[in-house]
Symmetry: C2
Subunit: 319 residues, 2 copies
């Protein structure tokens, strides 16, 4: 069964890993947001791609969910001693990824080729694709500082500023990376991971041709909002600041026409009927992934759910 997961950072990586644990029954492709990518010290840093790859390779830091396990920070400490910027916590092993990626990009390799070769080196069996080889930069308009680059907002300002609007610079010109549309087209199931709908999933959906292809396929999203909160990251805060009550319903309305089904946390079972009434299938289950087993179980439940057919399901209509 061919499954394609759209993923941002930590939450997306965990669920992608859950599907990877279903291999070889599942043939997995992960399409990853690159809107968070940025240049730091002249290096191309791809936080979501790295989080997904490190997680799939078993190299991720289990405490943080991002970065490498058994990491050291020799370089960053010396940079600090020189008065350089240390707000982005570059570990030594992680830095090697950025250095070698940047070197290869400068030599003319495409990002998707670099990712592919890194994945092979790390023993990752899933196919990991950047959403695009072209530069896209997520910008966050904030009440306090105006437009900020995503990492500026996310890391330097620790998501404190109030968001007003998002923009994806370069998205008009960005072509889907080789394999992206083919993977979506040939998928039996497309899963929108529990990543931030505004800044992790929206950039992927905004790449030319992606949303319309998804609309023609069976797509299931997993709500990143649980009881009005997120496990990690600012999605719930963003909904609130944009005047939307954060809930699985808000997520359903967000993705709306793209969805065949939505997975919501069992704590949010109360939203099930409202969402179902718009014709979206709903699975209520535990969506919190504390460990590898949780990831695996959630992926298996989504696979089973995707095979559901409910004759009593109201016809699909938009909110």
């Amino acid at each position: 069964m061919k499954v394609t997961v759209l993923a941002g950072g930590v939450g997306g990586a965990k669920l992608a890993h859950g599907f990877a644990l279903c291999q070889p029954d599942v043939c997995l492709t992960v399409i990853v947001n690159t809107g968070d990518d940025f240049e730091h010290f002249g290096l191309r840093i791809c936080p979501d791609l790295d989080t997904v790859c490190y997680t799939l390779a078993g190299l991720a830091n289990p405490q943080t969910g991002w970065g490498r396990k058994d990491e050291t920070f020799e370089v960053l400490q010396s940079i600090g001693e020189l008065g350089g910027p240390t707000w982005f916590r570059l570990g030594d092993k992680d830095l090697a990824t950025h250095l070698e990626r940047t070197r290869r990009l400068r030599e003319g390799q495409r990002l998707s080729e670099v990712v592919n070769e890194f994945c092979r080196g790390w023993g990752i069996r899933a196919r990991v694709l950047p959403m695009s080889d072209d530069p896209v930069r997520t910008m966050v308009k904030t009440r306090e500082y105006g437009w900020l680059g995503f990492q500026d907002y996310f890391v330097r300002h620790a998501c404190q500023p109030t968001v007003q609007e998002f923009a994806f610079e370069g998205i008009e010109q960005a072509l889907p990376a080789a394999g992206v549309l083919e993977a979506l087209e040939s998928s039996d199931l497309i899963v929108i991971a529990p990543s931030n709908p505004w800044v992790s999933i929206q950039p992927i959906l905004s790449v030319r041709g992606v949303a319309s292809l998804i609309q023609s396929k069976k797509a299931i999203a997993v709500s990143p909002i649980i009881q009005g909160q997120t496990i990690k990251g600012p999605a719930a805060k963003m909904y609130r600041e944009l005047g939307i009550e954060p809930s699985p319903l808000a997520v359903a309305q967000h993705y709306d026409a793209l969805l065949w089904g939505l997975v919501i946390d069992e704590f949010d079972r109360g939203f099930e009927s409202t969402i179902k009434s718009s014709g979206i299938m709903v699975l209520s289950t535990n969506t919190i992934m504390h460990n590898e087993q949780d990831r695996h179980i959630l992926a298996k439940k989504i696979l089973a759910f995707s095979k559901d057919s409910n004759p009593n399901q109201p016809q699909r209509r938009e909110f």
Copy 2:
């Protein structure tokens, strides 16, 4: 007393350190070769500047003479695991220098400003100046591979190819860094360190205005050739491959009109009279610097030598 040292890598750094140990009696400026500089992983690497600064700061690896002491290689190991190039042995602390330097250069700082601020951070009291803020690249023409970038020749090919010619790309356009000509002009003594005459000192001397200023001042070179050999590096091999017998005499002839005096190793005392006959003052002494004390002693001997006046000295004439 104002002393300006022209220096390349390890040998130059050691002697510069000897003069630094004479502070505050000596007011020291070190003008450093940047012809060895290169880009690696998109980073600006300045091997000679770093060797000089690390040595003056007491941060240099005492075993190798270059790189940092107590160094780790976490990043390089991970780069190797990704199949990246590891021929240039980038330590973690050293890498921090390259990353932060590159970041500042990209922000528009001049190399000399960056060096100045790094020196302050490292507690270096001497003034360290790159020969130029403009890019100069030493190229080595070899019998086996044609023209090679210096680091390619020096590190990757381990100085094995046979040299035929040198070129300093960009030297015509390179302006001396701010302070270089002023330091030379105001010097009571200019010391050409026991660095490689072909690839460490020649680039400095080729920067516009430098050689002619030195010719008008009291300049003393220290021969890097001892008993037909060097302590380190390919200078002797280069002389041989270019058809010149490596000796203090060859060094004297190399710098010729620039020199007031030459310091040769006591093992080479036999060359003293020949060199003196051309009007160059000669000091024969131990020039091998095993430890800090050796560096300090050699610097003090050079200072004393520079105050020599010999009425019987033949008039200065070129070879």
